[in-house]
């Protein structure tokens, strides 16, 4: 059992070329140790940092990776694979080492989020899913950090499931949002698997199905006295009047926690709603806003003084609408003890296993140094070993809650311009260590030679 209940995906959830290359490596006897490094080359313009996330899902995948009879039977019918190779796959278990940044760590271009050290075929085989698992959570966590930042301490909850890209994204995403500081999720399965508070109000359909809005409010609060009532189905201010009427009717039995605004000018409606509620003595009824929200809209509402207590954020966070992907890659940087690189234009590589040192002054990060793995430099090293010989180590067993704590500790240590929503000027600095630069030059000479 993995500590956080990620299901192991099918071993066939991979790119075909992983299997064809694997068969070739085995045929050629190319089974020496390899190092693959997972990093991104640049950030989208609208991101100052990424939040590393998805490691637990990667480790669960590596632990659970098996080719079952069904998968092997199908592969046998493709006329691409020899029996000897299929027998090798049948016995395959991932037995490599993984070094990684803890989930919840802010990460910058060219810094490895993780490195896999294993025999070349093993390390190659896992590329597709190691990328896929890390990419989805890192992209979504990096978006959610911005939304949480914009909310300035007001609660943000995840309503994205219905329009996130599939069920797996909804699950991994809810977890990533939680790591990034989102307070709860409407996704029941994610709540169950990751211990995230489950949240929810009511849908317009509930109001519509009743003969009147007031009747709907009465029925729902009879069953759920502390619920949040959705007030915009027909007209928001009339909806508020119905909440007030219900409060008068119920007297001290009225325990409704909040009202939800889901359309129209949320800033103006929140002010009107606050005034109307306060005028009726309902100061403790909170205002919850939703409807096409993202960090920019939330920041505008907060700056405009909208008396909104919490935000429900769906699609725009759920698909990371302004930056739905990161150019995350998984690249061979060492094989058989020799550093490896590429020289394709704009796709250069730095050879060898690495370490990242984060330097701080008075508790605020000044810059990072990307170094060779064996260097001892000033600053905090961010990569640690999380799996050895295919077995998780304690550092590879952290929960979503622990990752959330990590993010909550690490993000405030970034410089203000990097934490903010505007493009950081200047961008956070990542230097290469002298030893890494010298090694890269040396390998480049060897490869060119």
């Amino acid at each position: 059992m993995t500590p956080t209940s990620h299901d192991a995906p099918s071993a066939l959830a991979t790119d075909l070329y992983q299997l064809t290359m694997l068969q070739a490596y085995l045929r050629e006897g190319m089974t020496a140790p390899a190092v693959f490094s997972l990093f991104f080359r640049s950030l989208p313009n609208c991101r100052n940092f990424a939040l590393a996330c998805g490691l637990d899902a990667v480790l669960a995948y590596l632990e659970g990776l098996r080719f079952d009879a069904d998968a092997l039977g199908w592969l046998a019918n493709q006329r691409l694979f020899h029996d000897e190779f299929l027998r090798w796959l049948e016995g395959f278990r991932f037995r490599g080492d993984v070094f990684a940044m803890a989930e919840g760590t802010p990460v910058f271009p060219n810094e490895p989020l993780l490195e896999v050290v294993a025999s070349l075929p093993e390390a190659q085989l896992v590329e597709t899913l190691v990328l896929n698992r890390t990419h989805v959570q890192t992209v979504l966590a990096s978006k959610a950090v911005r939304v949480v930042t914009a909310a300035c301490g007001r609660q943000v909850v995840d309503f994205g499931m219905r329009r996130m890209h599939g069920t797996d994204a909804a699950l991994e995403g809810a977890r990533a949002f939680f790591v990034a500081g989102v307070a709860g999720t409407s996704n029941v399965l994610a709540a169950k698997l990751y211990g995230i508070p489950a949240v929810g109000t009511m849908a317009h359909s509930y109001i519509q199905a009743h003969d009147s809005e007031l009747a709907a409010f009465q029925s729902f609060t009879a069953l759920y006295p502390e619920t949040t009532l959705l007030v915009d189905t027909y007209d928001t201010l009339t909806g508020l009047d119905h909440v007030i009427a219900l409060a008068r009717d119920l007297g001290s039995e009225f325990r409704v926690r909040g009202v939800r605004l889901d359309s129209g000018d949320l800033g103006a409606l929140a002010k009107a709603a606050r005034a109307r509620l306060d005028g009726a003595g309902l100061e403790r009824v909170e205002i919850f806003a939703s409807g096409n929200l993202d960090e920019d809209r939330i920041a505008a509402l907060v700056e405009g003084g909208a008396p909104i207590d919490a935000f429900g954020v769906g699609t725009r966070m759920g698909v990371s609408e302004d930056a739905p992907d990161l150019d995350l890659v998984y690249k061979l940087v060492d094989y058989a003890g020799q550093g490896r690189l590429k020289t394709s234009p704009r796709k250069e590589l730095l050879p060898g296993r690495k370490q990242v040192f984060r330097l701080e002054k008075e508790g605020v990060a000044t810059h990072d140094v990307l170094a060779r793995a064996d260097e001892k430099l000033p600053g905090r090293p961010l990569l640690e070993i999380v799996m050895a010989n295919g077995q998780r180590l304690p550092a590879g067993c952290r929960t979503a809650a622990q990752a959330r704590t990590r993010a909550a500790e690490e993000i405030p240590r970034l410089p203000g311009r990097v934490r903010g929503l505007e493009p950081a000027e200047p961008a956070y600095r990542v230097e290469l260590s002298r030893a890494l630069r010298a090694y890269a030059a040396q390998v480049r000479t060897r490869v060119a030679g």
Copy 2:
């Protein structure tokens, strides 16, 4: 067994409020028939139509939906749900009817992609996943149609898995791309489940791990004589020289199908590569291009006369980068025989079950008419019954290949301006039938009264 092997997601893969509303409906005895309609209100600026996709996954979900002991036990611990309700969930099976457009049908704003007719609690419960399943495939198919259009008959293959949003998106997406006309996928599991041709070449790491590029080419072709060789790891034109050297060396044994360019100026490199290959008598070696491609880049390459035979398209198609979501909603339009609507600003609803008629002139669609379900109007009706009493009908059992055929027949019947990549001017017209307008007015009067 479902016809296309979609796994049934967990019953807890839903929004919390579906369960709380469901309990309320049952308590209130609100179990009369309801109609929910799934549609989008508008298209992103960069889409002229959407391609309906995901129905098979929806039907598989509805067929397989069960609350198992684990789910019920967890729910029981939430202190929200009564025993009577949990017993009801335990016996729950979806027994409703579904009307839908066939997968592969072009669809426009306000047109239902599908409608669910079931008792209110049943129809409400399934909202989240019906949306999620339809949304991911429709978004991704709608992007892929554009990529296929841009390629002007050249093959497009899906390389997106590593950066798509999770494993489910990679699977559903590969299927959606295939429906939209993409020729193959690198995703082995999708190939297996949906009968899509599996494709793949080789990675840079394979080249890097060998002592030289030529040695890597020799080893790979010895095992896979008809492969495609990746030539840009160090320098594209030198890589081509290595392919030519290999061809000289192997003589009539040389059966390499193509070369892959993955970086740099693909148009210029393709021309140089074609000249170099042709000069060496390798006219039949194809040129395959990849690397940050989307419909705009492909269109530019095709218009620029780049001699590229096929395109590998990854992330930008895989996340539908320019439009990663659609404002797809699932709305109550009828309950207990009465049309229902909302009047929230910009979120109005048309009441009642619907039909869409597509009108054509000389084989080209002129416009659609959105009508009440029981109307008989000119044009082809697009919604058909696909599930009755929870059981799939023949129209609900179509495969991905059949959906692909449907798309290949339907898309060419759209007007040229709508099929093209530029924003259609004017946009495709969707009219409301007289009867629907009258009915909407009548319901509006009732709800306001």
